[in-house]
């Protein structure tokens, strides 16, 4: 079963200086019990994507076309606000980069975890018991005494784990994690990723994991999509994409990651140029202005999705050119 099926989603914003196309025909799906990673740099549209899924687009934004099918039967793009609110927090949970986005600084942790369970109909004692069990799952030491404490009494890593506990307490079908480990140190990041892996297996939910940290996506996600300037330029299993990236942007992005370099180099690889102005998208392929392989066709026509094999697709006229085995 597919928990989330995004089909041809396009989102536009009406700004004072013109119509900004933030997402263009984004399509991907999140199967049940799997982790899907969204890789992209600033400006690729990740935040807009999450906001669109959660029904939290700003007033001047709109879903101009496409569908967001949740659990096979609900189109989130067309759901009324009341129904959407019922889903949020219950069937779809979110964890953000800053745990203080989820934690109220003036309420105790126990109180907040109880509040999340308000629809469960359990007694206060039962709710607290569930909270303690959840805190134990996310490896907070001495959870019983922690319920009375306030968010500022916890370290950054612990706050994030509490936020994850709160998100997963209602056992959602889909957990959306927006850069949850970006602000954490490396050792904390590793611990949090391992935790998410365990929890996902335990609860049986799906995870949509947004990050610009390639290493984390490689470790945590089964499948992934690569976004650039509001479009999905490549998608497939993480193995397929890391071992045989076909879209020039993906190839360059992987090459840029200093973690891939096993020794010191004289010059680090970069991607020359900048993101296009989304109010005036380039003609043809969206990456063409920065691509060193672009030719007349790339500049004229937007490439279709080329199927490379299995679930691996890339939106490039020359997706059949493989770099695998070439001095990777």
């Amino acid at each position: 079963m597919t928990v989330l099926d995004v089909r041809n989603l396009s989102v536009a914003f009406h700004t004072g200086s013109g119509r900004l196309e933030a997402l263009k025909q984004v399509s991907f799906s999140v199967p049940a019990n799997r982790s899907v990673g969204v890789v992209g740099e600033s400006g690729c549209g990740k935040s807009t994507l999450i906001n669109a899924i959660l029904g939290l687009l700003a007033d001047n934004g709109e879903i101009s076309s496409g569908e967001i099918i949740f659990e096979g039967d609900k189109d989130l793009a067309r759901l009324d606000p009341t129904a959407m609110r019922a889903l949020r927090g219950r069937r779809i949970a979110t964890v953000f980069q800053d745990p203080m986005g989820a934690l109220n600084p003036v309420l105790s942790v126990g109180r907040q975890m109880r509040d999340i369970q308000y629809r469960s109909g359990l007694s206060k004692r039962d709710k607290d018991a569930r909270s303690v069990a959840m805190l134990r799952k996310v490896r907070i030491p001495d959870p019983e005494s922690r319920l009375a404490q306030f968010p500022h009494e916890f370290s950054g890593g612990m706050k994030q784990r509490i936020a994850i506990a709160m998100a997963l307490m209602m056992e959602p079908a889909l957990l959306i994690a927006d850069e949850p480990t970006t602000a954490l140190d490396a050792t904390l990041e590793v611990a949090t990723i391992e935790l998410l892996k365990d929890l996902q297996r335990d609860i049986g939910c799906s995870v949509l994991f947004i990050s610009h940290h390639l290493g984390v996506i490689a470790e945590l996600c089964d499948e992934m999509i690569v976004m650039y300037a509001g479009e999905v330029v490549e998608s497939g299993t993480t193995r397929e994409i890391f071992h045989d990236p076909r879209h020039p942007y993906t190839q360059k992005l992987l090459a840029c990651d200093p973690a891939r370099l096993s020794h010191r180099v004289a010059r680090l690889p970069t991607i020359p140029g900048t993101l296009p102005d989304l109010r005036h998208r380039p003609s043809g392929c969206v990456f063409q202005p920065r691509c060193d392989r672009a030719d007349a066709q790339c500049r004229a026509d937007r490439p279709p999705n080329a199927v490379i094999g299995g679930s691996h697709i890339a939106r490039c006229w020359y997706a059949d050119i493989s770099l695998a085995g070439v001095g990777a």
């Binding site: 914003f13 700003a58 001047n60």
Partner: protein
């Protein structure tokens, strides 16, 4: 304009300001010209707002009273702004002990009821324009200073201030270039919303006889004059009260709209 209230506010403020400035053009009477024969005349074409107990044309007195109100409003406000900013910056950026001392002073001044302050100062200096200005400043400065102080404290540890310190910038330069421009915005809007309060203070003091000395026209004084005769000559009270209400409303709407327009966090106004 997108904001109807703001437009109303701006209109009112403009009317008040223009009518005060062009008072001599809009009316041919002298504000203090006594004309016993025309005492308590009700509003007519000759006297648009009627006359008071001394036969003075109320419309004229209202217009000239506007000058007093605005003079005090703008003058006292400017003075409060300067004093509040300087004290707030010093309290926020200077040594801890100075901050504590200044806070004590602010709290002490703030804890005095306005009327008591007014009475005390009038006893010392006699009722006058200066007493009013001083009262206004004492009422406003602690509040402004506190706000500036808090903002300064917050910015003191901001990275761009640290960066300036790391370059060797002096405290004066940091306050002037890196802190003040970033905190002055909200204060200016606050001030425009406090102008009605200033108008009210002046009117109140004049009403109590503690403000500008007669025969100088002041809306509060007109109100005072009209109170005694409210049953027979109700128009005097209207003449005194209406401009106070209109000015207060005008500046409040205007100030609130300014604040909303300058709030960068309002979504959808990209």
């Amino acid at each position: 304009m997108r904001e109807p209230l703001g437009a109303v506010g701006l209109t009112l403020v403009t009317v008040v300001v223009l009518s005060a400035v062009f008072a001599s053009v809009l009316t041919s009477y002298a504000p203090s010209k006594i004309s016993p024969a025309e005492r308590f005349a009700s509003p007519s074409l000759l006297h648009l707002l009627g006359t008071d107990h001394l036969g003075r044309d109320l419309f004229t007195r209202v217009l000239y009273g506007g000058r007093i109100a605005l003079l005090i409003a703008l003058g006292a406000t400017a003075g409060s702004l300067v004093a509040g900013v300087v004290l707030g910056l010093i309290a926020g950026y200077g040594p801890r002990w100075l901050d504590n001392v200044l806070l004590l002073v602010f709290d002490a001044v703030k804890s005095f009821p306005t009327v008591m302050l007014a009475l005390t100062l009038v006893t010392l200096f006699g009722p006058s324009l200066y007493a009013v200005v001083l009262v206004v400043m004492l009422v406003n400065v602690p509040g402004y200073a506190r706000i500036i102080r808090t903002q300064t404290l917050v910015l003191k540890s901001a990275e761009h201030v640290m960066a300036a310190r790391s370059m060797g910038a002096s405290a004066a330069r940091i306050l002037r270039v890196h802190i003040l421009p970033n905190i002055i915005g909200p204060i200016l809007i606050l001030i425009s919303m406090d102008i009605p309060v200033v108008v009210a203070i002046e009117a109140g003091m004049s009403f109590l006889g503690l403000g500008v000395r007669p025969p100088t026209p002041s809306w509060g004084a007109i109100l005072n004059d009209g109170f005694a005769n409210i049953r027979d000559s109700y128009w005097i009270v209207i003449a005194g009260g209406l401009p106070i209400v209109l000015t207060t409303l005008g500046f409040t709407f205007f100030g609130e709209t300014l604040r909303d327009l300058f709030d960068p966090r309002l979504k959808g106004r990209a």
